[in-house]
């Protein structure tokens, strides 16, 4: 007899099948490529940067892209490439933490709301409706206004604002899963409500939540960049892409490279995550795609 540890691991058929479908989707592969490259850059930032991201050199202000400074320098003479590389780290941090906040809040409220229903469901749904009624960036601005500007407060703001989307997604899935016979049979076996929710229902909503998180990662980066652009997010000298664009505004006509490259970085990372997320969705649920 094989070892009991194998009980839960190795679902070879499932995962391999998803990977096979993902590989066939060109957009998803490109997206995954971008995501992987950005991840490596974020992890290895200190080893990749040609210069210190905060080293100023006023003799080298606003240099155009050239040998040594491949993406030029900004108004303090800091190397744009180095700052963008470090910025990847900041953006990933924002993405990870704000997605985590949204995930924990949204999935837990969604599970409770969908499973128990009743008054609890009405309260939670009422709350998510209120939050969703605000334009996203406005709500985030309001949260930052209360908490004060700063990178971590931006993560909280973006996380809070993404939570209701998770709540609705999870609630919808749970409502349909709740009626499934395997839930009834796990109750007939003597499971508690908590166990049914966490052991039997939660794993069944992982796929849509995973897709959502990938897409939300991109949205978070974008929203956070927007907040930083407005001066509410990362504070200098943190090399945040949104903040870099904000500072480059003045030189848009005279030194286009200062703002353009951080913009390209934002665009690429958002594109990468969105392509990957879309591909993942198609691969996880082939029925959606004709």
């Amino acid at each position: 007899m094989a070892k009991p540890e194998q009980t839960k691991s190795s679902s070879p058929t499932g995962l391999r099948e998803v990977w096979r479908r993902l590989k066939k989707n060109r957009g998803a592969v490109i997206g995954l490529g971008i995501v992987l490259v950005l991840t490596v850059i974020a992890l290895l930032a200190p080893y990749l940067t040609p210069y210190d991201y905060k080293a100023q050199n006023l003799d080298l202000r606003l240099l155009a892209p050239q040998r040594g400074h491949w993406l030029g320098t900004d108004d303090f003479g800091r190397d744009t490439l180095s700052r963008i590389i470090y910025g990847t780290r900041v953006s990933f941090q924002i993405g990870l933490i704000s997605v985590a906040i949204g995930l924990v809040l949204g999935v837990s409220t969604g599970l409770i709301s969908g499973y128990y229903g009743g008054v609890l469901d009405k309260i939670i749904m009422g709350f998510t409706d209120v939050v969703l009624a605000f334009p996203g960036i406005l709500l985030a601005i309001a949260v930052v206004a209360v908490l004060g500007p700063g990178l971590y407060n931006v993560m909280v703001a973006v996380g809070l604002r993404s939570a209701p989307t998770y709540t609705r997604l999870v609630r919808g899935s749970v409502i349909s899963l709740r009626e499934k016979e395997f839930v009834e049979s796990s109750r007939a076996v003597g499971c508690t409500n908590g166990r049914i929710l966490l052991v039997h229902i939660l794993p069944n909503v992982v796929a849509p939540v995973l897709v959502m998180s990938t897409l939300q990662f991109a949205t978070s980066i974008l929203t956070a960049a927007g907040l930083s652009f407005l001066g509410l997010g990362a504070q200098p000298p943190t090399p945040d892409w949104g903040d870099m664009i904000n500072r480059a505004r003045v030189y848009m006509r005279t030194a286009w490279w200062v703002g353009t490259f951080p913009g390209v970085a934002i665009m690429l990372s958002v594109l990468g995550f969105n392509l990957f997320g879309d591909g993942l969705r198609d691969a996880l649920d082939p029925r959606l795609k004709s």
Binding site: M1, T7, G14, S185, S186, V189, C191, H200, P203, N204
Partner: protein, 330 residues
């Protein structure tokens, strides 16, 4: 043999829906003796499953509520138990298998995980021992290569195999009572026979009682010792299998028996009971079967009959139980 294991007395389970109050189970009584199989028979929507779910205390509240009656299991009233006490009974003393083997297993876990879960909820076994027990159970229900199958997912098994897994899961804690809610309805005929054979064998080997819910009288004849026939949320007839099949006393039971195609006789049309099951939120006055009953008389339209013992062990709820002449040759 005649020691009662489960006694349901005057059970009333009502659903409060936006369309009205639905008395799905209305003063239903039945008893299952130790080691015995009771067939609970009736059309769709007559309250068979609700009765079973009430015994397990699995009626979703809201909209459902058990309004009255007693459910005595091994002498203890299940309706007086707390939810936590019920959890120690479910899956342990009383197990249940459901109609749809395709959806009764969680698609994201291996069958081994699902059987060990049932075992570990009720027995103090570590993972390894529970898995060994799961393999043993799979072997008991006749699944080939059980050591390998425990690591498979439900989608890798056929319908018959899945129902076997469900049975293995239900029996893993040696329950005293197995409630089987249409266990073979979703299966092919050949697989049905295998699964019934298996249940019969296991009942004899493990000495448990079975409450078999079905609308298939063939299954009852095959499996059950006694039958209880339900119509529109009420018991209409109860007794040993043979007397009921040979001398049905209630016109409804007779109608059910008559609608079975007879292969040894030339039949142009199948016999059917005229009309349909009445809407539970507006049952007819008097006997609930009277609009469809060819023997109905004034008393049937006015007064509700009660379940009375006509012959020893044979109860019927009808003002004018069928006599030999009514039954004719059928």
């Amino acid at each position: 043999m005649a020691e009662p294991l489960l006694q349901v007395r005057n059970l009333e389970t009502t659903f409060f829906t936006p369309d009205g109050v639905v008395p799905a189970v209305d003063h239903v009584s039945l008893s299952v003796n130790k080691g015995e199989t009771l067939g609970l028979v009736g059309e769709s929507g007559c309250g068979k499953s609700v009765t079973a779910l009430s015994v397990m205390r699995l009626i979703a509240d809201p909209p459902g509520k058990i309004m009255g009656g007693d459910i005595l299991f091994e002498g203890q009233n299940l309706l007086a138990k707390t939810e936590a006490e019920m959890r120690t009974i479910r899956g342990n003393r009383i197990s249940m298998i459901f109609q749809e083997p395709m959806t009764s297993l969680n698609p994201v876990f291996t069958v081994g995980f699902q059987i060990t879960e049932a075992i570990r909820l009720h027995q103090k076994l570590d993972r390894r021992d529970a898995l060994a027990k799961a393999v043993e159970m799979l072997r008991l229900v006749g699944i080939p290569l059980p050591e390998k199958r425990v690591y498979e997912y439900p989608h890798e098994l056929s319908g018959g195999m899945r129902q076997r897994v469900m049975i293995a899961m239900a029996l893993s804690c040696n329950p005293k009572l197995l409630i089987a809610d249409e266990p073979t309805t979703a299966l092919d005929v050949t697989i049905q026979a295998q699964v019934l054979e298996l249940m019969k064998r296991l009942r004899n080997e493990l000495g448990m009682a079975i409450l078999l819910i079905t609308h298939d009288l063939g299954v009852v004849a095959e499996m059950a010792d006694r039958v209880s026939v339900m119509y529109a949320g009420k018991n209409v007839e109860e007794g040993l299998v043979e007397p009921i099949f040979e001398r049905p006393l209630h016109p409804y039971t007779r109608g059910l028996l008559d609608s079975i195609p007879q292969l040894h006789r030339d039949q142009v049309r199948l016999h059917a009971i005229d009309g349909g099951v009445p809407n539970p939120s507006q049952f007819p006055k008097g006997c609930r079967f009277h609009p469809r009953c060819q023997f109905a008389q004034d008393r049937c339209r006015a007064e509700q009959p009660v379940l009375t013992e006509v012959e020893p062990g044979h109860k019927v709820s009808c003002w004018y139980p069928l006599v030999a002449a009514d039954r004719g040759v059928a």
